[in-house]
Amino acid sequence: MKGVSRRKFLIGTGWVAAGATVIYHIAQRATAVAPTFIFPDEQSGLAWIQLAPDGRCRFYFPRMDMGQNANTGLMQIIAEELNLEPEAIEGIVANTSEVPPFAVTAGSMSLTAFSRPVAVAAASLRELLRARAANQWAIPVRSVLDHPGGFRADPGFEVSYKALISREARPLTLESPNEAAHLYTFDQSREKRHVGHPAKPLFLREMVTGQPLYAADVRLDSMLYGRAVRPPVNNAEIESVSLGDLRSVPGFVQIVREENFIGVVCKTPRAVERAISMITVKWALKQPITSEEIARLVDVDDALSKGSLEHQLLSNNPDREADWAVDLRFDVQIQSHAAQEPRAAIARFNDKEASHRLEIWTGTQDPFAMRRFASMHTGLNEDDIVIYPHRMGGGFGGREHYEVEQDAVRFAAAVRQPVKVQWARQDEFKAARNRPASTHRIRLGVDAEGDLKDWWHAYISGHVVLARDRLPGWLLPVSRLRDDFGVTKGGKPVYVSERSLVEYSDVDLPVDLGVWRSLNGAPAIFAIESAMDELAITLGVDSVDYRIAQMQDAQPRLKRCLERVREMSAATPLPQGLSVGRGFASGIYDGRCFVAVSADVLIDRENESIKVLRMCCAQDVGMAVNPDQLAAQIESNMAWSVGMALLEELEVGEDDILSSNFDNYSIARMSDMPVVESAIIDQPTIPPAGAGEVALIAGPGAIANAIRRATGFRALKLPIAYSDVIQQDSRDD
């Protein structure tokens, strides 16, 4: 990458004068438009960790935090390798001028991809200093033993990192990792002191005392407020605009109009609100936005009646005319991220400071993409732009587009003053890159013994990672010839059949689409696990036993999760005499994360509601770096499972996004929340896999299956309404 010098980052992070710093040259440059895909290698971590002369460790976070608290786990790894207490490590949210570019925070990849580079860097630093201690004591390196915050040796030698570093006049640099450095994180030879133990998330105190953490918390001198009129979909074009008397609004400063963009800048937030309400925009759409149109586009049965689908994930001697024991169609709704924080960004142009011509404060999953996009947008060099990334109030895959930042840059450029843009909640719903609608036709055939013989899963989903405007228009058609790895998530069954066919088509929908928690994992596995449950009922067998049997000799980790969750759920019997049921579901996310969930559900006739009483979850994501935060992610995924199964649906119609706020888009509330019991199956010899979106793949299926057990009602459409359940309650009526 041009212009990235070691010196630049040394200066940026203030460690030129003293201290041991390990840095390296980055060799990769991300492509122009896509999210930043620079997956870390063994060297990458060297840029993120420093030891200061006072013995403190500085950790420049390579991940953006949005509640998953991945940096907490990475910090535990540093503590493990450097024999430090976590309190001795200072975590820093770096701006883009302080660290080399790192990858977009997405895909539950943080611990999977970053744990090793972080461990290598910390261990290399430790070994560098160990050699120095050996030199100082004139003893062999192997005689220098680990000691908290430093080293010791017999008889009675002790030295701290601080003492080893402070004697240096110049900073130490390490051009490459020490390949021989022993990694305590991944080795079983030493009992772990930090990894594998529960650790409190970083910034807890700041979060409970209301300290500034998020982009909107930033205030700058002479700052104005701006907001644009957001289109219902990103590719809409302005057809006409009618304006009220904006100048009559006290505090009105300026209207800003560009191609397909109109917004206002004012002196206060309320003035913005008033001015925006005086602007009426008629948008020209490329496709009508109606629920009927969306249903038509994802209608799998209609597509199958015309032939095969576009892509095949599995095609093993399929038989389309088999005798089907189960033949069901499942319809999955569109969902919004609805993060608690509506996006905000502040932009400021500086004519005097060359390296800070443009500064942007924002919460983003991908700060280096923001810098790239801002460069393309303004024509400034990337080196002249600084992004100050902030903690996000929830991300869930929805915070990687250059949008609120672009609004802020447009306004700040127009008024030559800093401008804060705070999206309203309705802007969030309009701009969301939603989880697409999908429909699934699943047909399962069995042999005389009841074992799976034929598997046919056909589905149509809106695009996910290849949704429009996630790639440039010229690149999309070519990319779409290949699999959309968001749409394929969850498509391959864990069950073994003699013949199998998994086929899918991905389509453009009238609403904006993109990456949402678990991608297609939750929709596909909801459908598969519902169908498998129905098959077990048809065969009159225990559904957990049946699932395990149909995995044959494969999937030992998933089987263990299922067995575990069966035990956990059995510990609390279902209440007697009520309309209650217990359902199970399980699955594998991304080939590396294993999960099983049970749900106990009550059909509450008095309150006319479906109440999830209790959910148990057993999860195996390899090494459990921070068991408490793994449990927190399970709890979060169970809340989302309730939302997906029972509550959430993005409403569209009249060529607009009708869901605009939490009064017409329901998410789980405290009273919707079941009791959650979680079990983390630790695999200390398997590198950690992500956990942010794993349990959501099994939760909705478990709830649907519990409703089936309680009432006989098989949910074929999400979200499940109480009225649907009652109308078709075959057991009680």
Partner: protein, 157 residues
Amino acid sequence: MRLKVNGKERSVDGSWQDETLLDVLREQFGLIGTRYSCGIGQCGACTVHVDGEPVNSCLLPVGLAEDKKILTIEGLQAADGSLHPLQNAWIEAAAPQCGFCQSGQIMRALSLLQNNSEPSDSDIDEAMDGNLCRCGSYPRIKQAIRSAAESMQGSPS
């Protein structure tokens, strides 16, 4: 116009007197711990206490808070900087995930415990149902409220 915020008198600039209490707190006074999330009183992220009652500050014109006692999350710590039992309980339970809603959650929980020192689970559900948490930190919020209720027993809140 003057407001009494966290025990201090503060004056509202003339050009800010038509704003919401939330925007005045955040943008004028820099008390950014109270957060904007829905703007229509549907999520509770902006909960503050006005004369001891929890209100959605995103809905309240600042003029209606004039001369009233306003308590925000920043006013919860004691003068010596020690945390309120609710804040300690929140940390102990590691309740926050993204953290964005938590100021409002804590302020609502404070109101609950001021009125009911031994809330049942359903009391907690009822009191907290207007405070949304997209991360789903509810089980830990509930646990934190229970443990704060215990530690606040007998001590003035």
